[in-house]
């Protein structure tokens, strides 16, 4: 019989064989797309009003924040509104990935207890779902920025690498938080505070350039700061983002992704007994 032989032995601490892990993950890529699709359908985002809500929600939010800025700050212009909306949309990509990722492993309990598969599929799916929620808002922003007359230019293409950095970051936080949640289930309750704090500490309600230099020194501690700053430069102002910002964002994203993935992979084999 040409049956494949599989051997299960006690595992050493640390990472599983990465080559085999990747192969088994790649073989299951349809799971990730199917899972995202089913999940979106279940949340009614395949219907007209569901999609409309997806766009309406951040749009209304940005309107509320805009009102706040006008009332408190007094001055305002269309660039400000564009900046607010674009940044908020990208922020939601990360925050959706975080809130979707946190329960991805614990919610998959039944599957994890009864099927052998690379567990990392679950937080990856959460990030993909967040991405699908982000795409329509991007379209809305493009329409909006045409209406309010923001400048177009080839510099806007810099948004592409910034987007990939954001995705890497979103994936990294989803993987990390899903793993942490297995050991500390109450982390879910802290999450709203974490995202709220991130929202106010990032250049969304204000522009990075309007901060005093003293405050800007603190930005190195916020991974989203350089990412959102570069994003706004590219898509709102149609300028080339600062290289240092991009590199800083990339370093954060790569760091969180690698550390989170290391923790996840070295821990995932005991998830079945922890759930």
């Amino acid at each position: 019989m040409s049956a494949p032989l599989q051997v299960y032995e006690p595992f050493r601490a640390g990472l599983p064989p990465l080559g085999r892990y990747w192969k088994s993950l790649w073989a299951r890529r349809t799971f990730i797309s199917q899972y995202s699709k089913s999940e979106l359908r279940e949340q009614h985002f395949d219907s007209v009003f569901g999609q409309l809500w997806l766009v309406l929600n951040p749009l209304l939010l940005s309107a509320v924040y805009f009102l706040l800025i006008v009332i408190i700050g007094g001055s305002s212009d269309s660039t400000r509104y564009g900046h607010l909306t674009a940044s908020l949309f990208l922020f939601y990509l990360v925050s959706n990935s975080l809130t979707g990722g946190v329960k991805s492993v614990t919610a998959g309990q039944r599957l994890i207890l009864n099927t052998a598969f690379p567990r990392i599929m679950l937080p990856i799916s959460a990030t993909i779902i967040a991405l699908f929620k982000f795409l329509p808002t991007l379209l809305v922003f493009l329409v909006m920025r045409t209406i309010i007359g923001l400048p177009f230019g080839w510099e806007m293409l810099w948004a592409i690498p910034v987007f990939f950095i954001t995705m890497l970051f979103a994936l990294g936080v989803a993987i990390t938080i899903s793993c942490v949640n297995v050991y500390f289930r109450d982390i879910t309750s802290f999450l709203p505070y974490l995202t709220r704090t991130l929202l106010y500490l990032s250049p969304i309600l204000y522009e990075a350039s309007s901060l005093s230099p003293k405050l800007r020194a603190l930005e190195v501690f916020n991974p989203l700061f350089p990412i959102l700053d570069s994003w706004s430069k590219a898509v709102v102002h149609s300028q080339v983002p600062e290289t240092s910002s991009m590199l800083q964002g990339l370093a954060w994203a790569l760091g969180i992704f690698l550390v989170g993935t290391y923790f996840f992979l070295s821990r995932e084999r005991e998830f079945a007994v922890r759930l």
């Binding site: 019989m1 049956a3 494949p4 032989l5 599989q6 051997v7 299960y8 032995e9 006690p10 595992f11 088994s24 073989a27 299951r28 349809t30 799971f31 199917q34 899972y35 089913s38 999940e39 279940e42 919610a107 998959g108 309990q109 039944r110 599957l111 994890i112 207890l113 009864n114 099927t115 052998a116 598969f117 599929m121 297995v182 050991y183 500390f184 289930r185 109450d186 982390i187 084999r269 005991e270 079945a272 007994v273 922890r274």
Partner: protein
Amino acid sequence: MPSVSNTPLITNEVAVSVRNLGLTYTTAIDRRPTLKARLKSLGGKQTRTIRALDDVNLDIEYGQVLGVIGTNGAGKSSLMRVIAGILPPSQGRVEVYGSVSTLLALGVGFNPAMSGRDNVLLGGLAAGMSRDEIEQHFDEIADFSELGEAIDSPMRSYSSGMYARLAFSVAATVRPDILIVDEALSTGDAKFKEKSLNRIKELRSEDRALILVSHAMRTLREVCNDIAWLHKGKLIQRGEPNTVIDAYQEFLHLGKSAVVDEDL
């Protein structure tokens, strides 16, 4: 499909080889591990070690229909999960020759908000099957489960019987080399029980190993050609079904009343 006889031949071709298998794990004493609980008991010991399997040696050959019996907490499910590659062993070595069903059936329904159809598809994809493979089997699964239109409604609206019927249908339709059916035998109404028993009998063949975990002794006597009795993580006895089951029931100080036979 090879010819299916009523008593399949044992081919002496090893399907699963379990050597000196031990499985220990530590679990939190708290029901839910939280940061709050961890901080409250800083420094204190808050885990206990469970020895789920202790030096188990077991060979399963192709053509064999192995029944696994034992009281609750004997380690039956743990053993199945190690064979399926879900739990890594703490000691020893497990060799599996062929594809395992990976308890697929029980993973079905992991997301109660999704329809039965989505759950079957996702469970199959997670187990490493291709979409075509699943879709090919899907009608058969839906037919066998007799769920009708309910297959497209969310699984949270299912009764426990419907749940079990879908799970068994998946297990019975997807045809791996090594099929593990964990307790799913004794579910559903009498009619479905009969039907699933017949399906199990059909699935016995020379090139498949069947492992049935069940408390339904009469069924095991009827279907299996080998029984392994686990108790507190140790393999107590292995051999001819009637002998082992009799010994097991004697051990439990229970007579051979019909109730015991079926519902234990």
